[in-house]
């Protein structure tokens, strides 16, 4: 039995369970959005969005291009281009007005749809610093841990010496974002299209990464256009956003219809209501 095989299989779970012991004992991680609106100047992009994602659940947010999904995510995180209204509650604590990095430290991790390039900054430098922030590991453990996580998302550890994003393909960027989120050991993870631009073989891997997060106790909000993911993942709830508004929240049963008919099914559901 090698340490390698132990760590690969159990490290994520082990570390999460130790760290979250307290949380486990009292309450499970939960993200609650209450009437969240996001404004760009005077323009309202997201309108009164509410949702409740609790105890290790997987929720999916879908909607046409430009409907406001990414804007919602960035506004929740505190991006300064957007004015946020409404409440963002993490384990019943209102974190709406916290600084972006404080939200992260409270347990909110976000994989961005379009992460920027960090010129001259190396992947190893960033991931290892993140790991040191979020995990109680010594210097030796930390670099091994980061390598294991890269392995989980399907990246070679030689990416550590590459420049952040600049030297990555679109698909590799998505994987790196997932690695970042795994390292952060979050209560709640929001993944903004972690599947766009990745090759067909990577879809199951992304799905299994999401499963890892869930089994480590994170609640996950997944934004996607990719129906093939649902061959591997079964969300608890599906939220549909059109033109900045949540028009529907449903059980995953809607997914097949949605795949066949597109967003006009929403209307049908509306009529049924």
């Amino acid at each position: 039995m090698t340490t390698n095989s132990i760590s690969k299989k159990y490290m994520l779970f082990y570390i999460n369970s130790v760290k979250d012991m307290n949380a486990w004992a009292f309450e499970l991680p939960e993200l609650k959005l209450e009437n969240v609106s996001a404004y760009l100047g005077d323009k309202q992009i997201v309108k009164n969005f509410s949702a409740r994602i609790s105890d290790g659940e997987l929720h999916v947010l879908m909607g046409p291009n430009g409907s406001g999904k990414t804007t919602l995510v960035k506004a929740i995180a505190g991006h300064r281009a957007y004015r946020l209204e409404g409440k963002v509650l993490l384990d019943n604590e209102n974190i709406s007005n916290l600084e972006t990095n404080k939200k992260a430290l409270k347990g909110l991790a976000i994989a961005l749809q379009e992460p920027p390039s960090l010129e001259g900054v190396r992947v190893g430098e960033v991931l290892i610093k993140i790991a040191k922030k979020f995990r109680r590991l010594n210097d030796m453990e930390v670099s091994k841990f980061v390598k294991d996580v890269l392995n989980v998302v399907g990246l070679d550890s030689d990416v550590l010496s590459k420049y952040y994003m600049a030297e990555f393909s679109g698909g590799e960027k998505r994987k790196l974002e997932l690695a970042k989120v795994l390292i952060m050991n979050p209560k709640v993870a929001i993944l903004d299209e972690p599947d766009s631009g990745v090759d067909i073989d990577s879809i199951p891997r992304i799905a299994s990464t999401v499963s890892k997060l869930l089994s480590a106790g994170s609640s996950v909000l997944l934004i996607t256009h990719q129906f093939s993911l649902f061959d591997y993942l079964r969300p608890k709830r599906v939220h549909i956003m059109i033109s900045g508004e949540k028009v529907l929240e449903s059980s995953p049963d809607i997914i097949d219809e949605l795949e066949k008919e597109g967003y006009k099914v929403v209307k049908k559901y509306g009529d049924r209501k």
């Binding site: 961005l112 010129e119 001259g120 430098e125 960033v126 610093k129």
Partner: protein
Amino acid sequence: MVIESRNLTLMTDEVLKDLKESDIVEFSRLRKEPKWVLERRLNAYRYLKSTRPDPQIDPFLERLAYRTIIEGYLAPVIDFNDAVKYAEKIGMPKEELEMLASGLSVTSDNRLLKAYLKFMESKGIKFSSMDEAVKKYDIIKDYMFKLVTPVQNRKFAYHVMLWSGGPFLYMPKGVRLPQPIYSIFTLGLEGLSQTEHTLIIADERSLVNWIEGCVTPFKMNYGVHLGALEGFALKKSSLRIVSISNWYGNVHHLPIKRLMAFERATAELSTVGFWAKSIRIAPQIDVVGRFGKGVMQNIGFYTKDQRVHASPKVKLIAEDSKAMVLNRTVVMDEATEEFRGLIDAKKGARNASGFMSCNTLILGDRARSITVPGLHSEEKEVDLSHEASVGRVDYEKLFYLELAGFTEEEATWMLVSGFFEPVLSKLPGALKEEVRSIVSLALKAH
């Protein structure tokens, strides 16, 4: 007349008038210099007498002249204890601390220093203080003050008239030493001078990496630094110099740097500039041999009310010669930077090529930067190009790092050190990690 170097506002322009030719002769005699050195000093003196003062630099230098010549103020005291304390505080690597410590005991029973000199000697490398070298080695006469001439401009003239100390290095033909040589070792020989002269001769096919200065800000009991470096990269040699400056308090930094690259040789000057009250630098590389190459790189991190004027120049004189000028600076607080780079292809530099890239990152609302890249050519078949940018830290990048739990400040420093990386990564292997760690130490200490 009371002259206090720290208090530069007490300037009087009578100083130079008080200085007589006989003072220079006496100064040279006390130093037991060969006659040719005295002649250069006198040339410089006469040049200063016959030209008009430069209001930008004379106020600093006249006082320096008076102190050096009349008050015999030759060996400024470095407060090594302060330096070592500071070094420990910022977690300086052990090697650099040891080198600092070697400066603590100027006596000859310094084992580290002795071993180092012995090693150099075994390779045939000449490494000594300039004061000694001018008396000992004939070869010096053919090189010293050839690039930094006594009659080029007032700054050079002041330097030639006043120089004392500094290191001399001669790399024999074909000797290649990739591990860097630290000029800081010469501190152990004689203490640091205010007007030191560094002369480096890389003979044919030799290779040398030279690091001068160090990240620790030395506490000096003077206000102006007017050191000069002359470097010769002879045929097929490679001469690479990294010059780090980080001073303490009100030091005005006016270094002179001149290099020359001969046939198929590379002369490279990398400057890393941190604190000095003001920096006024116009380094120059002349590429005089066919297929020769001149590379000038600068990393600058300017803070508080620092004033920086940098005008690096690579002069292409030979056919098929090459130039590269890279400048990456971060300007913050109320600091101001004026950068005017020039690649100058002279008549005869057929088929020469050059590239200049200057990028400045401005932090905060009060810092200022003017960046003017210049390309000039007297030949037709010359390929020169440049890129330049002055910008701020991109919020999307900060946001990205803040999302990962970093504070705005932590995120900014990560991006700043990344901003320097393109220059750092171009340094030769042996120097790369060295300078990288020096830069990160200095950023940490900030």
